[in-house]
C-alpha cells in the first residue's frame, strides 16, 4: 500500500491529516473498550472550529473505556490521492480506518453537507444505507441542528441524537457496552458476533431507542398520500416512543467544560479560545431555527466563564478569548464580564472578542472595549428593510435604534459597517427591499453628519458599508415552517432589483447563490424519499456543495429528475397547519400551538417579546422538558432587564 507519507507529499495543507496537535488525545486501542469516531463532513479548518465536536471529544475521551478520534472530509486533492491509492478514510489520532470503529458520530451542521456525509461513508468503505450494514460495520449516529429534521438522511443513519449530546453520548456508550459485552470476552470483533446475547445489530438499536433523545429511523414507518404529502409517521414496533423529545442540559455550570482543547497547527476558521456563555436564544426571530431548537436560555455564570477563560489561556496559549453563544451581546452580565476579562488578560496581550458584534443587541461603549484589543468590524443584522417586515419576522429592532447605534459607532471612530438582510421573507414586497436601500442611505448620511473621520495617519477615511443578503430558507420547527420558499426566479428578480437600486458608491453588495438556497430549502423540510436524490447526487459527484466552486446545480436538478422527485414540491409549496410534517415525531419541546400562534402573529404584523425580559410567552419548552430559563446575572442582570 502507498504510504501515508507519500499521500501527504501530494496534497495542499497536509497538516489537515496528520493530527499530533497540542492537547490531542491519543489512546491505545487495545486498552479501551469502545472506539468512537467523531466525524464532521467538511474540511479540518471548518470542523475544528465547531464547538460541539470539541465538547463531545472531551466528554468521550474523559471515559477511560473509550477512545474518541476525529474525522474530517479530505479536501478534493487528498480524496483523489486516497482513492487512487486505495486508502480508506482514517481517523486523525490513530490513522486507523474509520470502519474499524464501533460508533461513528456525524455532525449534521447544515443541509448542504449531506453529500459529504455519503462521500465520507463511501471513502470509509461503510455501506451507505443503514439497512445494508452488517455485523462488521460500525453504527452511524447523527447529531447537530439538522438532526431536528434528519428525514432526508434517515436511511443512512442507524440512530439520531436529538438536542444536546454531552449526557446522551454516555448513555449511548453504556448501552453499547451492555449490548456487546467487554471486548476482553472475544475481542472487539465481539460486535461481529452480534452482541453478547446474540441479539444482532437490531438488539443495540432497541436498547438505544429507549434512551431519551435517541431516534432510530428504521423503527418508524412513513406512509404517503396520493398527492405526495405525508399521511403518517408511526413506530413500527412496540416500546418505541411515538414522539422523541430532545435532550437538554439543565445547568451549564454543572457541565464539565473542556479546558484542554486541541490547539491546531493550521489557521482554522475560529482560531481562538471559545468560552460558551449561554445556550438558547429567546429573541424569537420567526425565521430562526436555532432560536427554537436550543431553547430555553441557560447561562453559564460569569464566575465560571472567567475561571474557564483564565484556565484556557494558560493551557492553550491562544491570545484571543471569544465569548460564544447564539447572541453573546445578550448575556445578562456581558458588560461586566467583558471588562473583567479585558482587565485581567489585556496586559498579557490577550484580547477578547464576540463572534459577531451585533450592534442591535449591544451598546457601542461596550464594543469599544472589545475594539481596544482587537479590530473587529461592526455588524448590524436588521434582516429586513422596513419596520413592517421586521415586525413580521419579529426582529425587534427599530430604525432609530440602528441609526443611534451607528452614530455612536461613527463618533467613536468606526468607519466600517456590515448590514445583514434576508430576501424572500414571507409577505415581502419590493417596498421592503427598497427600504433596505433607504436604510443604507440613512446610515451613510449619519456618517457624513458625524464628520471628521481620520485614520491612524490623519488621512480622511471613507465609510465602508457592506450590504449582505441571504435568501430566506424556511426551516423545520420554526413559525415559518408552513411558508413556501420564494421560487428561484423570484429570488433572482429580488437580487437584481437590489443590484440596480443600491448605488455602488454607497455600499458593497453581496448576495448568496439563490440556487444553493433552493437546494437547501428542499432538504431543510424534506422527507425520507429525498434520500434517493442524495444518493443520486452523490453518484453524480456532488460534494462540498457549500463551497461555491464545487456546487453543481445542474447535477442536482438531474439527480431529482432521475429519481422522479420534484424539488419545488419541498421548497416552494405552502403547507397547511393540519398537514403531517416529516419532523412531527421529533420534538424540540416547543409547542406546536406556540409555533402556529407565532405564525398567525407574523401574518398580523404583531411582535412577541423575549421571555428573558417580558416574562414567559408560553412556548412550553420549560414545563415540557422540565428545565428552566436560567440567567446567572444576579443584580446586574435584573438591572439590565429592568
Amino acid at each position: 500500500m502507498v504510504s501515508f507519507e507519500r499521500l501527504l507529499s501530494k496534497v495542499t495543507k497536509p497538516a489537515r491529516y496528520t493530527g499530533g496537535e497540542w492537547n490531542e488525545v491519543r489512546k491505545d486501542h487495545d486498552a479501551v473498550e469502545v472506539l468512537f469516531a467523531l466525524a464532521f463532513p467538511d474540511v479540518y479548518e471548518v470542523g475544528m472550529s465547531h464547538l460541539g465536536l470539541r465538547l463531545l471529544y472531551h466528554e468521550l475521551n474523559k471515559r477511560p473505556d473509550t477512545a474518541a478520534e476525529r474525522v474530517f472530509s479530505p479536501w478534493v486533492d487528498m480524496e483523489a490521492a486516497m482513492r487512487q491509492a486505495g486508502r480508506p478514510l482514517f481517523a486523525l489520532e490513530s490513522r486507523a480506518p474509520v470502519r474499524d470503529f464501533d460508533l461513528v458520530g456525524v455532525t449534521l451542521q447544515y443541509e448542504m453537507s449531506f453529500t459529504n456525509i455519503l462521500n465520507l461513508l463511501d471513502l470509509a468503505g461503510i455501506p451507505l444505507l443503514a439497512a445494508e450494514r452488517g455485523p462488521d460495520d460500525p453504527f452511524l449516529v447523527a447529531g447537530g441542528p439538522c438532526a431536528f429534521n434528519p428525514e432526508p438522511v434517515a436511511d443512512f443513519f442507524d440512530l439520531v441524537v436529538l438536542g444536546e449530546g454531552e449526557e446522551a453520548v454516555h448513555d449511548l456508550v453504556q448501552a453499547y457496552l451492555e449490548w456487546r459485552g467487554s471486548r476482553r470476552d472475544g475481542g472487539r470483533r465481539a460486535r461481529r458476533a452480534a452482541g453478547k446475547a446474540g441479539e444482532g445489530r437490531e438488539g443495540f438499536l432497541v436498547r438505544a431507542a429507549s434512551i431519551p433523545g435517541v431516534y432510530v429511523p428504521s423503527f418508524y414507518d412513513v406512509t404517503y398520500r396520493s398527492d405526495g404529502r405525508l399521511e403518517s409517521i408511526r413506530p413500527n414496533r412496540p416500546g418505541v416512543p411515538a414522539v422523541v423529545a430532545k435532550r437538554v442540559v439543565r445547568d451549564l455550570d454543572e457541565l464539565d467544560y473542556p479546558t484542554d482543547p486541541i490547539v491546531p497547527f493550521l489557521d482554522i476558521v475560529h482560531d481562538r479560545i471559545m468560552v460558551e456563555v449561554f445556550r438558547g436564544c429567546t429573541r424569537g426571530c420567526r425565521f430562526c431555527q436555532a432560536g427554537v431548537i436550543y431553547r430555553p436560555v441557560r447561562e453559564r455564570s460569569p464566575e465560571k466563564v472567567k475561571g474557564l477563560a483564565a484556565e484556557l489561556v494558560r493551557k492553550t496559549g491562544y491570545n484571543e478569548i471569544s465569548l460564544t453563544s447564539l447572541s453573546s451581546g445578550d448575556y445578562s452580565t456581558i458588560a461586566q464580564t467583558l471588562r473583567d476579562l479585558i482587565e485581567k488578560h489585556g496586559p498579557a496581550g490577550v484580547g477578547v472578542s464576540l463572534p459577531s458584534l451585533r450592534v442591535d443587541s449591544f451598546d457601542v461603549a461596550l464594543a469599544e472595549e472589545v475594539q481596544k484589543v482587537r479590530k473587529t468590524g461592526l455588524t448590524f443584522a436588521p434582516e429586513a428593510g422596513t419596520q413592517r417586515l421586521r415586525d413580521v419576522i419579529n426582529k425587534n429592532v427599530t430604525e432609530e435604534d440602528l441609526l443611534r447605534t451607528a452614530r455612536a459607532a461613527f463618533s467613536s471612530g468606526w468607519n466600517a459597517i456590515k448590514l445583514y438582510f434576508m430576501i424572500g421573507l414571507p409577505t415581502e414586497t419590493d417596498e421592503d427591499l427598497l427600504g433596505l436601500v433607504d436604510l443604507a442611505q440613512k446610515i451613510s448620511r449619519v456618517y457624513d453628519e458625524v464628520g471628521h473621520h481620520r485614520g491612524p495617519r490623519g488621512n480622511r477615511r471613507a465609510l465602508r458599508l457592506t450590504v449582505s443578503t441571504s435568501s430566506f430558507v424556511p426551516k423545520a420547527h420554526t413559525p415559518f415552517q408552513w411558508e413556501p420558499q420564494t421560487p428561484l426566479d423570484g429570488l433572482r428578480r429580488k437580487q437584481d432589483l437590489l443590484r440596480h437600486r443600491l448605488p455602488r458608491r454607497l455600499a458593497e453588495f453581496n448576495w448568496h447563490d439563490a440556487n444553493l438556497s433552493f437546494i437547501e430549502g428542499v432538504f431543510a423540510r424534506g422527507d425520507r424519499r429525498l434520500g434517493r436524490a442524495l444518493l443520486e447526487a452523490h453518484r453524480r459527484g456532488c460534494h462540498f456543495d457549500a463551497w461555491s466552486d464545487h456546487f453543481r446545480f445542474d447535477e442536482w436538478l438531474a439527480a431529482f429528475a432521475a429519481v422522479g422527485l420534484d424539488p419545488t414540491f419541498y421548497a416552494n409549496r405552502p403547507r397547511s397547519y393540519d398537514e403531517v410534517l416529516p419532523w412531527d415525531h421529533l420534538s424540540s419541546g416547543v409547542a406546536r400551538e406556540f409555533l402556529i400562534e407565532e405564525h398567525r402573529r407574523a401574518m398580523a404584523g404583531e411582535s412577541t417579546p423575549d421571555c428573558r425580559t417580558a416574562g414567559c410567552t408560553l412556548c412550553e419548552v420549560c414545563p415540557t422538558l422540565d428545565v428552566d430559563l436560567s440567567l446567572k446575572g444576579g443584580a446586574e442582570a435584573s438591572a439590565h432587564q429592568g
Binding site: V2, R6, A15, F265, D267, G317, Y318, A348
Partner: protein
Amino acid sequence: MRIRAEFVKGDRARYVSHLDFIRTWERAMRRAGLPVAMSQGFNPHPKMAPAASLPVGQTGRSEVIEVTLTEPVEPDDFARRVNAAMPEGFRVTRAKEVPAEAESPASSVSGATYVAWLSDETGAAGTASDGDAAASRPVAEAIERFMSAREVRVTRKSDKGEREVDLRPLVFELRWGDGRLTMVLAAGREGTARPVDVLSALGLDPDDWRVERTGLFKAAGPDPVKWTAAWDL
C-alpha cells in the same frame, strides 16, 4: 534578553508549515509562561526569529531560532519549559543567552546541509536504501555529471509564476554513500538551492525521498569546512 535555541523538527511535525510553526512557537511560549517581547510599531508581533524556514515535509535536526524575552530566564530552564509546552515532534536540544549585539542567524544564514534517503514503502525507485551497487551507480554518476556541469538550469515555480535559475553555483557539495545523499547547498538571501530541485536535477523523484536538514551555516566561500554554524554566530 536574547535567547538562541537549537531544536529538532521531527517526523511527527514535519508537515507543519513555516507560518504554522511560528504560531506554534508563539503559543508554546505563552503556555510555558515565557514572556516574549513585542516589536514596536503599527502591527506589533512577538520578537521571534527562526534562522531559516523549513519546507513542509522536511525534518530538521539542528534548527535555530532566536527569541527576545522581557524577563531573564536560565537558558536550561527555557529549554525545559518550552519542551513541556511544545507539541510532539518539536524538541529544543540546547539554548543559550546571546549578547544583544551578536550577529543574527536569521540575517546571516547562507548555507545549509541536508541528507536525503529513499523513504520506506515507496517501492517506486527500487530498494537502494541499503546502498546496493546496482542502484547506487546511477546516483553516483548523476552527481558527477551535475558537479562537472557549467550550469544546471531549472524552472522554479512560485506564486509569482515560473522562473529559470541556474542551480549549479548554489550547490557546493553532493555525496552519495550508504543509501544517503548528503547535500551542501546555498540557503539565504543570496540564493537558495532547494533539495527537491537538486533531487530532480539528479533525475530522482523527490516524492520518493525523505529530506532532513542537518545544519544551518553562515557560508564563507565554497568550502563548508570554513563555515560558521548558526548556533555559533
